[in-house]
Subunit: 189 residues, 2 copies
């Protein structure tokens, strides 16, 4: 996706430790026009799948997911990273975050994910794939069908992509970053 590649080159900050900072346009300050273009590209990538619901994870996945839900006229469910007091029946899974070096719970109400759902998961980043696998566990617990996973940016030098593909998941990342060496972003396709 050229528009996204160009924007990452222009406004992204790459660091040798594998960090790619895009918080001026994706995950702290957000560019809604870019988010709409990203959603359009997801429509194209997942065309013809019988999706009835978008699922994402708070907080940075919500913007692209709601834009995609708007275009497809589908409900969007966001998985929560904390267990709300008011939620009674829910699916729960644990996710280990390397960035934060801690394990956190992800959960979704049983009311909003069921065996009748055919879902598309959307998130901002794919790195080691732990968060995506945590959400996959929720989808599996609900007996729902996972049609695909779409990410804005993938760190292709980490193992997430392969872990998901090995499970037979249709993974679409709009920008695949092969290297951040020397503070320079290199895309792999």
């Amino acid at each position: 996706m050229k528009l996204l590649h160009d924007r990452i080159i222009q406004d992204g900050l790459a660091f040798d430790d594998g960090t790619l900072k895009v918080d001026s346009f994706i995950n702290h300050q957000m560019d809604p026009i870019l988010m709409k273009s990203i959603a359009v590209e997801f429509v194209r990538r997942f065309a013809n799948l019988p999706i009835n619901k978008i699922i994402t994870i708070e907080a940075s996945g919500i913007a692209p997911a709601i834009m995609l839900g708007y275009l497809l006229e589908l409900p969007v469910v966001f998985v929560k990273k904390k267990t709300p007091k008011t939620m009674e029946k829910m699916y729960l899974s644990s996710v280990y975050s390397f960035t934060k070096d801690r394990t956190y719970d992800v959960c979704v109400s049983e009311e909003y994910l069921s065996k009748d759902d055919n879902v598309l998961f959307i998130d901002d980043f794919l790195a080691n794939g732990n968060a995506a696998l945590g959400v996959k566990s929720l989808i599996d617990q609900a007996g729902a069908t996972l049609s695909g996973m779409g990410f804005i940016i993938e760190k292709s030098f980490q193992e997430g992509h392969q872990r998901l593909v090995d499970l037979g998941i249709n993974v679409q990342s709009l920008a695949r970053v092969g290297s951040l060496a020397g503070g320079k972003v290199q895309f792999i396709d």
Copy 2:
């Protein structure tokens, strides 16, 4: 906003303890078409203000804020409830949550809020106003101008609305709930 009132009556769950559960269409599962209509109403309510940026707070504020940012073609900044390791210079404020009976920090990077900004704050709920006042503190620390605050639902039987109005803030709530007594939602206008 009749569409929103009708939806709250249809799908909201009211409890005598003052809880209004709208997580089937606003803050867990989200209806993107409704979010677009909500954003259009915010455009109408805040027409002619010299806003250059939308500010919201994770996670439930992001959907209406990004839709509004999309319509107005303005950047959207979401205030974080945790202090990210990668954020160096930020404005910070503490918020006490009655619902969760704990104090949490809210923060925004100094890069995305400055004295040149004229911001509109958007969130899903206004109750006691503590979260909104926490964000106002961040806006004040940055020397930015606050043009108004827009909420999808206001619990008008709590003190938030009056606390914000007393500070001279232009507060617009699209559904003002006067009472939840007997599990019945009553609007005040």
